[in-house]
């Protein structure tokens, strides 16, 4: 059974019934946003049941749309947190990714500025590697990107999408070996993205990220995970009520092959490992529960079927 990422937009009227229906069909609500009278649900649900949900929500004027970025955590990486990148263009890209369903984190390096002097330390590299995809937002000059990006990509083992001012072809020529995705004509700018041309460039980023995420999903489907990240999220939320008290946005961030749980690792790791998923199989049997480099959070990596010989 493959779970497909979708978004449901609708009103609060009979919302409980919609949620029950999604859960009855075997779907999982990854995130819920309440915006005034509107509710946006980010859902992972079996592909064959999406049509049923559409029919069910039609009288309630609910909209169901596919959004491939739901259930992903994406790092938007910028050379530094200086005014040169913030709030435009980095925040605009991060916000656009968020609007399309992903959980995006912005990561500015401590000493990433400059060409010859740019550096990335191991904490930053490990933090990027905890995400599903990294989008590198670089500048306007091809020669700078060529020299700088070589340093940044070392040790990054997740798919990288490189964006910059030069055209896509130029970016492709400079990166050997190639990275997973490229978006050209998106260099440094200092204005709000509001014109049609600006939005088109952000759309190009989304398109590229969606393509890379879909490829990654296909790769993961070849050796399925022992448990779905969305199911694991539900179990954690049921068994650890303290999650309700976490003030951080997205207390449990769902990723393609795991989760980030925003609780203290030293305090909760053992409790999480011993949680029973089904038939005596515990979280520790099918997952690696690791300390995250983000504060003292917990990072859960779900092991594939080939390693555990279990699918729950």
């Amino acid at each position: 059974m493959s779970l497909v990422p979708i978004t449901y937009k609708g009103g609060v009227y009979q919302l409980d019934e919609v949620i029950d229906y999604i859960e009855d069909l075997g779907g999982y609500i990854v995130q819920r946003h309440n915006i005034a009278n509107e509710v946006i649900l980010q859902i992972l649900m079996p592909s064959e049941d999406i049509e049923r949900l559409k029919v069910f929500s039609r009288p309630l004027a609910g909209e169901v749309s596919e959004s491939p970025l739901v259930g992903t955590e994406i790092a938007v990486v910028i050379p530094s947190l200086e005014i040169h990148h913030l709030p435009h263009s980095a925040c605009d890209v991060a916000e656009y990714l968020r609007a399309h369903g992903s959980k995006s984190n912005m990561l500015g390096m401590a000493r990433g500025f400059g060409k010859r002097i740019s550096q990335m330390n191991d904490e930053e590299r490990d933090l990027i590697n905890e995400h599903d995809v990294a989008v590198f937002i670089l500048g306007n000059f091809a020669s700078c990107i060529e020299q700088k990006f070589e340093k940044f990509r070392r040790g990054i083992n997740i798919p990288i999408i490189l964006t910059g001012g030069p055209s896509r072809e130029v970016l492709e020529q400079q990166t050997v070996p190639p990275v997973a995705g490229y978006v050209g004509n998106l260099g440094r700018f200092m204005h709000r993205t509001q014109t049609e041309a600006d939005i088109a460039r952000l759309d190009a980023v989304i398109e590229e990220v969606e393509r890379v995420v879909s490829e990654r999903r296909k790769e993961l489907a070849l050796d399925p995970l022992s448990v779905s990240p969305a199911r694991l999220q539900m179990i954690l939320q049921q068994e650890i009520p303290e999650i309700e008290d976490i003030l951080a946005p997205a207390p449990v961030a769902v990723q393609l092959n795991g989760l980030r749980l925003k609780l203290s690792y030293p305090e909760y790791a053992e409790r999480i490992r011993s949680l029973v998923i089904e038939d005596g199989i515990t979280v520790g049997d099918v997952c690696d529960v690791l300390p995250s480099r983000m504060r003292d959070y917990v990072l859960i990596r779900i092991r594939p079927l080939s390693e555990t010989n279990i699918v729950v």
Binding site: P79, S80, E82, I83, H84, H85, F113, G114, K115, R116, I117, S118, G139, N140, F141, A142, S143, C144, G165, P166, G187, R188, F189, M190, H191
Partner: protein, 193 residues
């Protein structure tokens, strides 16, 4: 470009044209478009070197106490009936500093009373804010924002009605930077005549 009579970006590599938009946005955000008459930017990403030369228009005149409100001097007391609150806070700070905190009172939002002190005759001409004082600092800050980040070694000059800025992540090649800046000024002055 609105406000700028001369504006040019020279770059030794493709991508320099983006700096036209960046410079325009930054100057607009910092309310400097009406002050800068000419700006010439030179970028060499290979070395790397960033140089900027600019000519400014005469800055706005200073804001005086009489611009903030009407001054009425009577019975050894001065009453300022505040007309515009924009510069009220800097005016109070200036009065407190020069006349003493105890002698300057603000009984309500639009009234400032000065008492217990000899009232200076030229009170209404006292300068609250002189925009030209912070103008060059603002300009240099704006150019720093325009310049590619990481150009930490920098040299800036300002005086009279012109300013220049050169920056790099390596040592700034002084002779070359001076030549480039002089060339920028020559082109700009020829155009602005």
């Amino acid at each position: 470009m609105a406000g700028l009579e001369y504006f040019k970006v020279d770059s030794t590599e493709d991508g320099g044209e983006n700096y036209t938009h960046i410079a325009r946005s930054v100057l607009q955000d910092h309310n400097l478009l009406s002050i800068v008459a000419g700006l010439h930017i030179y970028i060499d990403p290979k070395y790397p070197l960033f140089a900027a030369a600019g000519i400014i228009r005469p800055p706005r005149s200073a804001i005086r106490v009489s611009d903030v409100g009407n001054v009425l001097i009577e019975d050894g007391k001065a009453t300022i009936a505040v007309g515009s609150e924009t510069y009220l806070a800097p005016m109070l700070s200036m009065l407190w500093k020069r006349l003493g905190h105890d002698n300057v009172d603000q009984p309500d939002r639009f009234t400032v009373i000065i008492s217990n002190v000899e009232i200076p005759e030229d009170l209404k001409d006292w300068i609250v804010i002189d925009p030209s004082e912070s103008l060059f600092k603002d300009l240099i800050y704006a150019i720093q924002v325009i310049a590619p980040e990481g150009f930490k070694v920098r040299r800036e000059n300002y005086g009279k009605n012109r300013f220049s800025y050169a920056a790099s992540e390596n040592t700034v090649p002084q002779k070359l930077a001076d030549e480039i800046i002089a060339d920028c000024f020559a082109k700009m002055e020829a155009e602005l005549k």
